[in-house]
Symmetry: C2
Subunit: 225 residues, 2 copies
DNA sequence: CGAGTCTTCAAACGTATGTTTCAAACAGAC
DNA sequence: GTCTGTTTGAAACATACGTTTGAAGACTCG
């Protein structure tokens, strides 16, 4: 074990536990005992718990954002000049995620869940870290979305992007549990690829829905104030 | 102060702090000092921190589920015989949430955020509590969704419901933060009602999207395995 | 081999948490 | 007014946390 596989053992254990239980609900002692590593190793190798959290994200996000950049490059080249469609953009993102080399078969769903938690748990330091570390591919994705939906106002687009993010992060993050339920209730097996194949059309349809209604449909007796 | 307004002061403070910071990130000392109440009062009146969390949810959720039941009653009566449409069902839910009597103007958004956190933070006790306490209106909502989308297979419907839940829970659980970002970037104010008015069409369109694609669109060079 | 560096280990530190204790203050009934 | 049950108060409890320490171990390279 040349260059301390302690670091990787810690990262593996932390990644899994954070995804399962959240950040503040996971203690360093849980991580180190799952990783079969001494408690002090975390502070020795990473400096602090927060720095460990950052490292967990960086280990996945750095190669992923590289993959994503080349996928976007390919896409824009293929469309030469014309802006890529919404479907193409969403698929470029989805395929980049699916095709990332995974440490294990749960890799994607674990990471989706972590991303969801990052957005949801109010860990100020994490949001700051992600923003300043990965603003470029994120901004590029946003720009592609904008060009693919020129009919939307900036505000409408903003909110619909949030809805997409939510549906994706939520579904992917709990997809293990959901897959199990589905198998028990309906006797169906589902792969991450199939979930993505169902999710993308859902997102695209939502993104391109007709204008927002400011009130409930006319059939309804009650109106919104 | 006849019947101990201590209880309500604690509930108010807890509700607000939980929504702001999450459950495990909020200590009893923060709550009691914000409520200007002795620390021991929480355990005296509620028994434990978990029981306090349950009480915060029950205070909102119990009247809400009653409101929701009558909204569903109204809706089904108005449709006499025919199953309500998807839009009608979603709006019945949304309006019931919006029209709930609020303790203050932030009432809805606080509670939406709490619901999002409940789904998102894996607080086992909370999920168990909510499931066994409010399974009836939830089941009824699911049944209405099923009748409103007879064209979907059970599996498709299952996944799309997850997508809807995700978009909703995620958006609501970070809606304050998102609103702030929006206000800073675009200088727009957004009320919960407006978010809902944008969310419902998005969900309805996604729910009724054309059949899932099993592969990326033909323009794409890469195919899913 | 042995000096020097990097890594592990057990133990402790200081702090914060949820919960308990028990006496004091209070309320309403007689 | 006094008694009884309920509510508050300050303090302590036990436990868990992130982090630090300093010595022991392992490894590299001359």
């Amino acid at each position: 074990m040349a260059q301390s596989d302690t670091v990787d053992r810690i990262l593996d254990a932390a990644e899994e536990l954070f995804a399962e239980r959240g950040f503040s609900e996971t203690s360093l002692r849980m991580i180190t005992s799952k990783a079969k590593v001494n408690l002090a190793a975390v502070n020795y190798h990473f400096g602090s718990k927060n720095a460990l959290i950052h490292a967990v994200f960086a280990r996945f996000l750095t190669p992923f954002s590289a993959t994503l950049e080349t996928a976007f490059d390919d896409l824009e080249e293929r469309c030469d000049g014309n802006p890529p469609t919404l479907n193409q953009t969403l698929w470029a993102l989805t395929e980049s995620a699916i095709r990332m080399p995974q440490r294990n078969e749960r890799g994607i769903s674990i990471f989706m869940r972590l991303l969801g938690l990052a957005y949801t748990q109010s860990q100020g330091h994490l949001r700051k870290f992600l923003e300043q570390e990965y603003s470029q591919p994120f901004g590029r994705f946003m720009r592609l979305l904008k060009e693919a939906t020129p009919e939307l106002t900036a505000v409408d687009r903003y909110w619909r992007i949030q809805f997409m993010l939510g549906a994706t992060a939520f579904t992917m993050s709990s997809s293990d549990a959901l897959r199990d339920i589905l198998q028990n209730k309906l006797g169906v097996e589902t792969s991450v690829q199939e979930i993505a194949a169902r999710l993308v059309p859902f997102l695209a349809a939502g993104m391109q829905a007709p204008d927002k209604l400011l009130a409930p449909p006319p059939e309804s007796k009650v109106s919104v104030a």
